[in-house]
Assembly symmetry: C2
Homo-oligomer: 143 residues x 2
Amino acid sequence: MHTNEIEQQLEHHGVKLTAMRLLVYQELKKANRPLSLRELEDRMPTAERSTIFRALTLMLEHRAIHAIEDGSGSLRYEACESDDHNHHDDQHIHFYCENCHRTFCFRETRIPRVDTPEGFLISSINYMVKGFCPDCARRHCLA
Amino acid sequence: MHTNEIEQQLEHHGVKLTAMRLLVYQELKKANRPLSLRELEDRMPTAERSTIFRALTLMLEHRAIHAIEDGSGSLRYEACESDDHNHHDDQHIHFYCENCHRTFCFRETRIPRVDTPEGFLISSINYMVKGFCPDCARRHCLA
DNA sequence: GTTTATGCAAATTCTTTGCAATACT
DNA sequence: AGTATTGCAAAGAATTTGCATAAAC
């Protein structure tokens, strides 16, 4: 994906472009999995924590990205898959390995919908599975 | 539910009984919704934060309770519904109101299961819906 | 020139641990 | 006595904010 496309995506969400915001967004796109603030910092030595944080907050508000809590103790951010900013759901489910603390995206698996009681307004859904990833499961059995 | 029943539930999970642990567990049962460490502290002026925390940690390990991340920035703890300590899933879905920061349990709604790729070992599942609760939705529309 | 974004530093909040004192068996 | 639990205080980790500088419009 070219930078221009990415710029357009951000603008499509109503996010005013800056060099830093673009960088953060690109990094999320590139990673292709949810990243924590810390991980983003590590990948962008030129960017300041608070700058990244404010970029993330802004993009969250504009629903260009979403946040998931995986139990690692820190939020992880992920670029939205679709450009449809009317549907801001986490589109797919995630898996968090309690042993190696990695978070996996199961992109093939959409989140099954449920009925909610009258009056509740839904803006997003997180479906988070936890346990052991194949690597850790194997090691755990051998041990 | 009598104290004795609650004691039995804890012991059934292999948690050695102490006054503090019982108190914490009772408080969770009583609340009937997920509580944060802070909320528990507020409800138990006699108990120390670290004591509550260690009680929670222990009960988590023994799967007498489970933890959910609702996006409020702090973990919330909830007494398990069933006494079956082989199934430690969050049995029902939760709703977090982004406006008033309350977390609701939709006990009627079980978490729909999904297929996960080969090799992943599942220990728990969180299904978290976010948005506006009826109260906040109404106020938001009027505003 | 006014508004907006950035960088730095520090405050806040939440979680977790070390250690001495206490309670339990 | 010996082990396990509790309370206090403080360390760690992550998030969030104030403010001065720098950039954008």
